[in-house]
């Protein structure tokens, strides 16, 4: 069945955006698979929300420097992947930039004490718990959405879906044998799209300034912080990353943007490809 006539397609507001789940082919009635997919996304939101008063992440940000904080296996998984990507990108991917995001009002002020300098490398994740010697404010906003997409695809497959897609506000993954057409929004005009071609078993994520920029004295900035100097990136080109899974694609858009390189050397090693779209309408 082609994507134009899905077996089931639903959308719910989750993860601060609209999450769409689509099943094109399945070996079982799609209803239960759709429910399971949204449950997986909702669980990631509950565990890893920066705002949620009882999320794993909030407890870790508040108490992680006082004592080991027990974490759900999914939170452990995301934190370990974040640390691996921090190392692989030479520190350009770092969820510990949350204080700068709070200063720019991209994130609400947490109740936890404000940390000094620190990176996600200061976090120790072992025995199902996380702790650090110094206070940290971690924000998983740049990786958890992709992780949620991956868990939703797992849930769909487990429940009998054989082809379809999950799209969490533009971070998406397609699965199944039939190649699916993917388009990317034009950063200068998000109602216009660029065709990337057809993809099979792939994840695609994009970081761009439209819809989310904040005005500063130096011009509009994106919620992408350079861990080297704590500054937010000015709104400009968008970066789209294609990878095997969405957690990788989602996380890597930020370090690729910060690298300023068309294709940083570590990107291919992580199985990713990048596409820069210019923010200027010079067609």
């Amino acid at each position: 069945m082609s994507p134009s006539s899905p077996k089931a397609r639903r959308a719910r507001p989750l993860l601060g955006t609209v999450v769409e789940v689509r099943i094109d082919t399945a070996t079982a009635p799609p209803g239960a698979a759709i429910v399971a997919a949204f449950e997986a996304v909702a669980r990631v939101q509950r565990l890893m929300s920066f705002h949620g008063p009882d999320s794993d992440l909030t407890r870790l940000n508040r108490m992680g420097h006082c004592r080991p904080v027990p974490l759900h296996p999914w939170t452990v998984d995301v934190l370990r992947r974040a640390q691996a990507l921090h190392r692989a990108t030479g520190g350009l991917f770092d969820p510990a930039v949350a204080p700068a995001l709070v200063d720019l009002d991209f994130l609400p002020m947490p109740t936890a004490d404000r940390p000094g300098r620190g990176t996600i490398a200061d976090l120790v994740v072992e025995g199902g718990a996380g702790f650090s010697d110094r206070p940290l404010w971690l924000d998983l906003g740049g990786i958890a959405k992709g992780y949620a997409v991956d868990r939703a695809v797992d849930a769909l497959r487990t429940a009998g879906a054989t082809a379809g897609a999950v799209n969490a506000g533009g971070d998406l993954r397609v699965f199944g044998e039939a190649p699916q057409a993917i388009t990317v929004r034009d950063p200068a005009d998000p109602g216009r799209h660029w065709s990337l071609g057809e993809f099979q078993e792939a994840a695609i994520a994009t970081s761009a300034g439209y819809h989310i920029a904040r005005a500063t004295a130096a011009g509009p900035v994106m919620p992408v912080i350079d861990p080297r100097d704590g500054r937010a990136l000015p709104v400009g080109p968008s970066v789209t990353v294609v990878a095997a899974d969405c957690v990788t694609a989602d996380a890597l858009t930020k370090p690729v943007l910060l690298s300023g390189l068309a294709s940083p050397p570590w990107l291919a090693a992580l199985g990713g490809q990048a596409l820069w779209l210019d923010g200027k309408d010079t067609a």
């Binding site: 994507p3 507001p13 971070d171 990317v184 990337l196 989310i212 596409l275």
Partner: protein
């Protein structure tokens, strides 16, 4: 528009429909999804001016429509259909609220985006005439996989909050 050097990704500018419009559920399907196997009774309510003022002051969100489309389930839960309008988007949604006033579920029925450039679309299209006709047809069919931020769900969150307040003011069983 220019591209940085690429090895494998070779994007092409292809005209897609100027507005993204997706229909996920009809109102009847949303009722069945949120209240499976239950027969709902219509609960027509028209808000009074005083109720509108109360809802706006308690929710901080404007009430655009005094007619509330609501239904009651046998267990006292309430089903409300509503729509939210943002700068570029229109979203119609269904909310299920329990007898005790807790949100049981939210489903998006329809999501539409429009950036208001339909007017210059014809002019813009003219540059590509003859080049992309086949792809255009293809993409109109397959346009569902769009990478790049969707509009924030803040308007949806505000809308659900307004409906919870509306329930408290005018629909509580």
């Amino acid at each position: 528009m220019r591209f940085h050097p690429l090895t494998l990704l070779a994007p092409a500018l292809v005209l897609t429909q100027p507005a993204v419009a997706e229909v996920y559920l009809t109102p009847e399907q949303a009722q069945a999804a949120l209240f499976p196997g239950q027969a709902l009774t219509p609960l027509p309510v028209t808000l009074t001016g005083a109720q509108v003022d109360a809802i706006e002051s308690k929710s901080g969100v404007d009430v655009r429509n005094k007619a509330v489309q609501a239904w009651r389930a046998p267990d006292g839960a309430t089903f409300i259909l509503d729509e939210v309008l943002g700068k570029h988007e229109f979203i119609s949604l269904a909310v299920a609220i329990s007898k005790d006033g807790a949100v049981q579920g939210v489903e998006i029925l329809e999501y539409k985006e429009s950036y208001g450039h339909e007017v210059r679309e014809a002019e813009w299209l003219a540059q590509f005439k003859g080049k992309t006709a086949a792809d255009t047809l293809k993409l109109e069919k397959d346009v569902t996989n769009i990478s790049g931020a969707t509009l924030s769900s803040k308007h949806v969150t505000d809308g659900v909050h307004r409906l919870l307040v509306t329930w408290n003011v005018a629909l509580k069983p």
